[in-house]
């Protein structure tokens, strides 16, 4: 599977504020990761400090269970508490993230593990953080998603990666977010927002007021082709609304950390709009699902990594949503 992190600057042409990303950030990642801390904990995953106290381990563009460290995950450090945002794709990844926290914030306890949504590359590290005093938090629909999909993910871990995992790999959140939730970490407050159906039917975004960092997790894909599980209309609506927010840094679930705001949303919005519009046209023409899968969104194929792996699945999902529109 590819580990390339190629840029798609070409698609931004003519839009000056969106044209640049910062290649020097990649050098900083290397510098930061060689920084040895106080803890003897091993191994610690390399993390990059995107903004003061906001640390991210960047994922690879790869297929879940066929590779490790697929998603962007990380943590935010307050004066009193650390909040983990997504725990990685396995208990080993979670443990390496915990080591990174011990090095960057040696005296501050992890109080919260925030799960952005159910996908295994984001939450299968949960078990590494399960301890008294650590609260797991998710969207109000996350427990239901874990109930229904958890078994499927455990089966796939076995079938695709040869990993026999027990059901306790799914740490169900004891605290859920109906609409919004504020978490005071000491000196900074995180605003957790539960979104209507978009990437999944239980997406949570996190905004750090201190650095104006918006952690979108899989509400934002960059370079890596988007993966649509719940609602294409809902996803477009969510991004359109988020676009108006004042943001300094943005963390996608998959892709680089140097996206400027709000341009970082543009490729995804374009992809979703193309798929939605062409799928609607296919339905209006009376095309079958099979034929729509072969025709819709082909203009996007060269613009994304892993396009062949996920695109037709996205079209099927969009088709089965949009064919019920009146």
């Amino acid at each position: 599977m590819t580990k390339l992190r190629s840029r798609h600057d070409a698609v931004h042409t003519g839009r000056t504020p969106c044209a640049t990303r910062w290649p020097w950030l990649a050098c900083l990642v290397v510098l930061m990761s060689s920084n040895a801390g106080a803890s003897q904990c091993e191994p610690a995953t390399p993390v990059f400090e995107l903004a003061e106290g906001v640390f991210v381990r960047t994922g690879k563009t790869a297929i879940v269970f066929e590779d490790t460290e697929v998603a962007n995950v990380g943590f935010i450090v307050g004066e009193r508490c650390v909040a983990v945002i997504d725990s990685g794709g396995s208990v080993e990844e979670g443990a390496a993230l915990r080591c990174a926290i011990e090095r960057k914030a040696p005296s501050i306890p992890v109080c919260y593990v925030i799960n952005s949504h159910v996908h295994p590359d984001h939450v299968f590290g949960n078990l590494a953080f399960k301890a008294p005093g650590v609260e797991f938090i998710g969207h109000k629909n996350l427990p239901r998603a874990m109930s229904i999909l958890g078994g499927v993910f455990l089966e796939r871990a076995q079938a695709q990666a040869g990993r026999a995992l027990a059901a306790d790999y799914l740490v169900v959140p004891e605290r859920t977010v109906e609409d919004e939730l504020r978490l005071d970490l000491g000196g900074r407050v995180l605003l957790l927002k539960a979104h209507p159906s978009a990437h999944t039917d239980h997406d949570l975004s996190i905004f750090d007021d201190k650095t104006a960092t918006l952690w979108l997790a899989d509400l934002l894909f960059m370079d890596h082709v988007p993966v649509l599980d719940a609602s294409i209309g809902g996803w477009i609506a969510a991004l359109t609304e988020l676009r108006g927010q004042e943001v300094r840094h943005v963390v996608p679930g998959h892709g680089p950390l140097d996206g400027s705001w709000p341009c970082a949303l543009d490729d995804l919005l374009r992809y979703l709009s193309v798929v939605r519009d062409e799928t609607r046209d296919a339905i209006a023409r009376g095309d079958s699902l099979r034929s729509a899968q072969e025709r819709v969104g082909r203009s996007e194929s060269a613009r994304w990594q892993l396009f062949d792996e996920y695109h037709q699945r996205n079209v099927a999902r969009a088709f089965s949503e949009l064919e019920w529109e009146d």
């Binding site: 269970f65 066929e66 590779d67 490790t68 396995s90 629909n141 427990p143 239901r144 998603a145 874990m146 109930s147 229904i148 999909l149 958890g150 078994g151 499927v152 455990l154 089966e155 796939r156 079938a159 695709q160 990666a161 040869g162 990993r163 059901a167 799914l170 169900v172 159906s197 999944t200 039917d201 599980d229 719940a230 609602s231 809902g234 209006a284 023409r285 009376g286 095309d287 079958s288 699902l289 099979r290 034929s291 899968q293 792996e309 996920y310 037709q312 699945r313 099927a316 999902r317 089965s320 949503e321 064919e323 019920w324």
Partner: protein, 274 residues
């Protein structure tokens, strides 16, 4: 996970070897064929019906398949029933789909669940009792336990809603395409709740009957092998303007009906024949 890639590769290789040998008929010959057809002779060819299915299914819970008939539905000899079978699904029979001379053409498109790398078979039973089979191999996994989409609230809110679509202008006396859409989660009783360790009870569409002016043109007995929101495309021959009616019954004995008038210069949205 580096240690995982070797077993995975071996698995892939084994599957590729398996697909190139007659072993892929193991389940079929090991009892499946006998269970449905006893010792009746089945001719394997694409001369009566031709099954079309993707070689690799990106979403195993929603695999579009089509069956194309090579013979017209003439009154004296026609395709009476098509059995759709997925060898390695927990319940192999996806459904029995019944046609009449009024169908005009025994073509069918639907979306199914596929649980493994498996042969998929369409067995056509002629009005004279002859059996003909078309077979394809599909690579998919986990389709039976995974929901196709996961917007649960939207799916449940629409339970029982139906749509019947036909082409914009129907042609009198010729086969015309109809699409029946049924909004139903088709829970298959295989989705285990990892929190309670209980399986969600099965709740799926088990019977479909579509008639035109009271005369049956298509019917089906279906199982959990049909994807959520069952969706069928088939043909009928109208010899007058009139009303199409669909009746659907699920395993909780909920009954849903829907009717739609058709005319030879109808203004409903068109269906392309592809």
């Amino acid at each position: 996970m580096k240690y995982a890639s070797l077993p995975f590769t071996v698995l892939v290789l084994l599957c590729q070897v398996a697909s190139a040998t007659p072993d892929q008929d193991a389940v079929w010959l090991g009892g499946l064929k006998a269970a449905y057809f006893g010792d009746r002779a089945i001719t394997e060819s694409d001369d009566v019906v031709e099954l079309d299915a993707p070689i690799r299914a990106e979403n195993a819970a929603l695999v579009p398949v089509s069956i194309k008939a090579k013979l017209p539905q003439s009154g004296d000899r026609y395709i009476k029933t098509v059995y759709l079978i997925v060898d390695k699904n927990p319940g192999a029979l996806v459904g029995k789909f019944n046609f009449t001379p009024k169908s005009g053409r025994a073509d069918l498109e639907l979306r199914i669940r596929v649980n493994a790398y498996t042969p998929v078979r369409a067995v056509a039973e002629m009005s004279d009792g002859e059996l003909h089979m078309s077979r394809r191999f599909v690579k998919a996994s986990g389709g039976c336990s995974a929901p196709a989409g996961t917007d649960m609230d939207a799916a449940m809110a629409r339970l029982g809603k139906m749509k019947l679509k036909t082409a914009e202008e129907l042609t009198e006396g010729e086969p015309n395409l109809v699409q029946l859409m049924v909004s139903h989660p088709n829970f298959n009783g295989m989705q285990m709740d990892q929190v309670t360790r209980l399986y969600r009870p099965a709740h799926f569409v088990r019977q479909v009957r579509v008639s035109f002016e009271g005369e049956e043109i298509f019917s089906a007995e279906t199982t959990i092998g049909v994807s959520e929101n069952p969706n069928f495309r088939f043909y009928f021959v109208p010899d007058s303007e009139g009303e199409l009616t669909a009746e659907v019954i699920d395993t909780n004995d909920l009954k849903f009906t829907h009717s739609s008038g058709v005319s030879f210069a109808s203004s409903t949205k068109g269906l392309a024949q592809n």
